[in-house]
């Protein structure tokens, strides 16, 4: 297997252009967390014409709801949640400049189109590998919606966060290509 590519967060277009479905990456920098309830609130803000709680341009959103941090720990276990539940909200955020998403599982056609049209990238982390992934999180701070508990928006500083490019900006799709390669029926 090839070596992972080290990339910085937030993302720039030249980095996105180099990434292809199936590439392993290690992300270092700042990423934001949000899942169902937070997405719903973000979209409601946009509907009201209000500003989002963080500047979304170039950013990564990591779909995660961590376990509570034990005393002295930075964060609890923090693996990806199913991305498909965010599909309804994602194209609008991509249009506003969101560049990277990290989660697990396939995305809808609308999300894949938005990724291609706006040069973004969707990455998958290994679902369930939550204790291992948490080790790459060096700082965590709630920046919005504290009342949502695990679903609050957090600003994370990560070092060598492990992920795999699932959908690149050129239409490459790891889920489709990988499965086609190993499918042994009809």
């Amino acid at each position: 297997m090839s070596e992972p590519i080290k990339i910085a967060a937030p993302l720039t277009e030249d980095v996105i252009e180099k990434l292809r479905a199936g590439d392993k990456v290690l992300i270092t920098g700042v990423i934001y967390t949000a899942r169902d309830a937070a997405h719903k609130r973000l979209i409601a803000l946009l509907d009201e014409g209000k500003a989002l709680p963080f500047d979304i341009k170039g950013q990564f959103i990591y779909y995660v709801g961590p376990t509570p941090a034990k005393p002295g720990a930075i964060i609890g276990s923090a693996g990806p949640t199913t991305s498909g539940r965010m599909d309804a909200y994602t194209p609008r955020l991509i249009e506003l400049g969101l560049k990277g998403m990290i989660g697990k599982g396939q995305r809808s056609k609308e999300v894949l189109d938005a990724i291609k049209n706006h040069k973004a990238v969707y990455m998958a982390a290994v679902g369930g590998a939550a204790a291992l992934i948490a080790r790459s999180i060096k700082k965590a701070e709630i920046i919005a919606y504290e009342d949502l508990g695990p679903e609050a928006i957090r600003r994370l500083e990560v070092r060598d966060f492990p992920a795999i490019v699932a959908n690149d900006a050129f239409g490459g799709d790891l889920f489709e290509e990988g499965v086609r390669k190993y499918r042994k029926v009809g």
């Binding site: 297997m1 199936g22 392993k24 309830a37 995660v64 709801g65 961590p66 376990t67 509570p68 941090a69 034990k70 609890g76 276990s77 923090a78 693996g79 949640t81 199913t82 498909g84 697990k104 599982g105 396939q106 998958a124 290994v126 679902g127 369930g128 590998a129 939550a130 204790a131 291992l132 992934i133 948490a134 080790r135 508990g149 695990p150 492990p162 795999i164 699932a166 790891l174 889920f175 290509e177 990988g178 499965v179 086609r180 390669k181 190993y182 499918r183 042994k184 029926v185």
Partner: protein, 278 residues
């Protein structure tokens, strides 16, 4: 009659919640390990190795292996010779409350429509049966939503028979793709009624992974389905590969002459189950 106190139940449940979240049972660990050896996709192999590595970190450092520590599902067998002078449900829920709080587990239970979190991961889902003896056996199988959401139930026509069952199971795994965190264990409940088939599917997941079905016909069907599922190519996390499922477990029950219920309960690799006897 042997008296058991509410405190004993609560204490046991509290400990079960915490250990289930952090320490995976050896049957699942060894199933993932042997899958990692056989997996044909290099990326798939790496994913499986990451999963094994994660199990080890979680066990060693007493951390939840997955951030989704689930809704707490219990199967409780109460011996007829046990005297309970309190609400068993209340005692179990108190144990869940304490376990999820003291174990730093995620509280993932909310009102179904308002979506407000109950704050303490209660209420639990509790299935109780009466058995012989004077002991209480408590089994916990906390369930995350990623795999639970990919589960399905269908009322087949009896004419569809075994072929209908097979295609529904395979279709369910196919539709789930990478969402339920494969490699998965596929629990299948056949027969009974609408509700009973779902319960059978869930119960089938309690059988240790890698042990054969005691019924020869069902054992053969499980093996055939496992081969068909792994031929789908979904692979670890849906990235493509030869390991989509670690096992298929089937449980059956007689049903009405006019119906054939089939329920498929998908279980992710974070296949947490623990039991204790009081």
């Amino acid at each position: 009659m042997r008296k058991v106190s509410a405190e004993e139940i609560t204490k046991t449940v509290r400990a079960l919640c915490i250990s289930a979240a952090c320490d995976l049972e050896p049957d699942v660990v060894s199933a993932v390990k042997s899958a990692a050896v056989k997996e044909e996709s290099p990326l798939g192999k790496e994913v499986l190795e990451q999963i094994i590595n994660n199990f080890e970190i979680a066990g060693r450092e007493h951390l939840p292996m997955c951030q989704d520590t689930g809704i707490a599902v219990f199967f409780i067998e109460v011996g007829r010779g046990v005297q309970l002078e309190f609400s068993l449900e209340d005692a179990v829920n108190e144990g869940v409350r304490q376990g999820y709080r003291d174990g730093y587990l995620r509280k993932s239970v909310c009102h179904p429509l308002k979506r407000t979190n109950t704050g303490d991961n209660t209420p639990a889902i509790i299935h109780t049966t009466l058995v012989e003896g004077d002991k209480i056996k408590i089994k916990i199988a906390p369930k995350g939503a990623g795999s639970e959401n990919m589960s399905r139930l269908k009322m087949l026509k009896p004419a569809e028979g075994v072929e209908g069952i097979k295609s529904f199971v395979i279709e369910t795994v196919s539709v789930g793709g990478g969402n339920p965190c494969p490699p998965i264990v596929v629990g299948v409940g056949v027969g009974g009624s609408f509700d009973k088939s779902a319960l059978l599917a869930k119960k089938s997941l309690l059988r240790p992974v890698g042990t054969p079905n005691p019924d020869n016909d069902l054992d053969a069907l499980e093996k055939e389905l496992l081969a068909s599922i792994n031929a789908l190519g979904i692979g670890p996390m849906g990235f493509g590969g030869t390991t989509t499922a670690l096992a298929v477990h089937i449980e059956t029950y007689p049903c009405h002459i006019a119906s054939l219920p089939v329920a498929v309960n998908i279980q992710c690799h974070a296949d947490r189950h623990k039991e204790a006897v009081i």
